[in-house]
Symmetry: C2
Subunit: 342 residues, 2 copies
């Protein structure tokens, strides 16, 4: 890139960020804008980052390579998109029956998550920062009700990320369809079901009009974290001040994105239910069969993929302890509040 | 030209922060240190904030006045400490049966929380920033088991903050005892019960040795948020860059503090249980009786305190919607994960 080897603390810099998301996903896409704006404010406009939607500079799934080879200095993405390259990427985002949002932040910021994922990304010349979480996503829209695990057999379902690997194992047929084409596929019956994000994002795409059955929980995305990628050479060329500014600005956007989802989903859910959406919890055997399938996938990966194994073992130990703790006072408080007339 | 602007934006400043907490509470006290360190890094050491423990510059509960009258430029506190002055402060921290940690952040960052609390603090000449959350606290240590609401009658319990107002109403006798004196009071039987924070902080004080029954959930603190106070005149005198740097640094510390609790509580809980601590959920009638008492307190405050009413009505609406939403996919995911062998 054009940046000198070591940037003066207050040098003027212009960087580009390639997002994997369209502008219409204002929550997720917006996190990159929030970060860029904060960096600009903190530096009196000297460090400017322009944010580019998917397709503008490169395709949605091209941003890993783009940040790796310094076509752009930064990218914002959901790392599980790259599970085909290596499933280890998903551990920096979400795996089926993984950590929830708070647990993921705890693992990243206070557990070994950030350290281990950074070691993994070093080979790609990328420095990663947690930047946003959607919270637990919904399980998606189904044209027909799902009564048992048997109903998942042969079911053609649009699903993003690593979850498809587990869906396959319970007999479903995962489909990789871009957001903009899901509605038509669901309407025509080319697919039987589709997951996207949650009420706020789903409502905008109108899935409820063509598939009235809305399932939860999205067990393949209990707390998907978005990641800011910074090209390592570009990062190393920054002053210590600018490095710290990126770290703090991404943490600000991290809080802000989860807050946007948590603040906007409730009203959207009410609108959806008002329009006739039927909410269902996945049947017990669907959850249990999927959990079993997921654990089998992880056992196999532990045997075949050393990079995965190194990170997953730490992740899994953290998940076990976190759920042991969260089941008491967090769950006890939430459970009580959720059953009150407020 | 650019030169004078740079000088202004990058002026050397030394500020002092008075914490309401002792250094031994490394999680909470540590949040102020994390923020100060990040501000230093972002400014190349030009903006330095020294962090002072409770008692060093002023007493723990003197920090509101200290930041208000500019004895210090900053304070870090749990605003419900000031409920005696005005219960409205508690809405910037925790009220019984209030928002959980994620909901509180959502209300602050994306709801009307930050806007409304800032209006309230304006009269004191303070600008507030969310800076840390402990997550749902435990319900505390009891010398004897609590079998029903009747067992709360006459119970002398150490409790911090606004929760005492509700405990009184169900017949308990709240006691205001500093952290360092709780152990002895519990041991001697001067008090029957004491709440502090959660496993990580409680273990250090050794309460399990003198009161083996550990209750959850801490319904008076489902997601207590800590607050950074900045003296408004000092804040207004800062460059736009420094203002943004405080905002981002406090958000970084906000994420980091919750992560510390979430990462450290599990091991401490295991140690406590290994040492014989017995975990109990509060009986249903204790929860329901306390909930009813809390709602009565809020109704009365709505009638007597316009500042409270203005903020509480917004808070309560947010709480209702947030719990409606969280009960589906978040609770469904957590509930399933917590019941698996991980």
């Amino acid at each position: 890139g054009a940046a000198p080897a070591i940037v003066h603390a207050q040098a003027n810099i212009r960087w580009r960020l390639a997002s994997s998301f369209p502008k219409s996903l204002d929550t997720i896409y917006g996190a990159a804008e929030v970060m860029a704006k904060k960096v600009g404010e903190m530096t009196g406009g000297k460090f400017q980052i322009s944010v580019h939607a998917a397709g503008e500079l490169m395709p949605a799934f091209g941003v890993l390579d783009g940040a790796s080879n310094a076509t752009v200095e930064m990218a914002h993405t959901a790392p599980y998109y790259f599970f085909g390259k290596d499933p280890t990427y998903a551990l920096d985002c979400a795996i089926p029956f993984g950590l929830n949002s708070r647990q993921m932040s705890a693992w990243m910021f206070e557990g070994n998550g950030l350290k281990l994922t950074r070691e993994f990304y070093a080979a790609s010349g990328i420095v990663n920062f947690p930047m946003g979480n959607t919270g637990a996503q919904m399980g998606g829209w189904f044209r027909k009700e799902i009564k048992s695990l048997a109903d998942m057999k042969g079911l053609k379902m649009r699903i993003g990320g690593f979850g498809g690997k587990v869906l396959e194992r319970i007999g479903a047929v995962p489909q990789n369809i871009p957001g903009g084409e899901i509605y038509q596929a669901l309407e025509k019956g080319t697919i039987d079901a589709a997951e996207w994000v949650g009420p706020y994002d789903d409502l905008k795409l109108g899935f409820n009009k063509v598939a009235p059955n809305y399932y939860y929980p999205g067990w393949w995305e209990g707390g998907p974290q978005l990641s800011l990628y910074v090209n390592k050479k570009a990062y190393d060329g920054l002053s210590a001040e600018y490095k710290a500014i990126i770290e703090a600005a991404s943490a600000y956007a991290h809080v802000e994105m989860q807050a946007r989802y948590d603040a906007r989903n409730p009203a959207a859910l009410k609108t959806l239910v008002g329009q006739g959406t039927k909410l269902f919890r996945f049947p017990k055997d669907v959850m249990e069969g999927s959990f079993k399938a997921a654990m089998e996938v992880y056992t196999e990966l532990n045997q075949s993929n050393p990079a995965w194994k190194k990170i997953y073992e730490d992740y899994a130990a953290f998940r076990r302890d976190a759920n042991l703790w969260f089941r008491f006072t967090e769950a006890g408080f939430d459970d009580f509040m959720q059953s009150q007339k407020l």
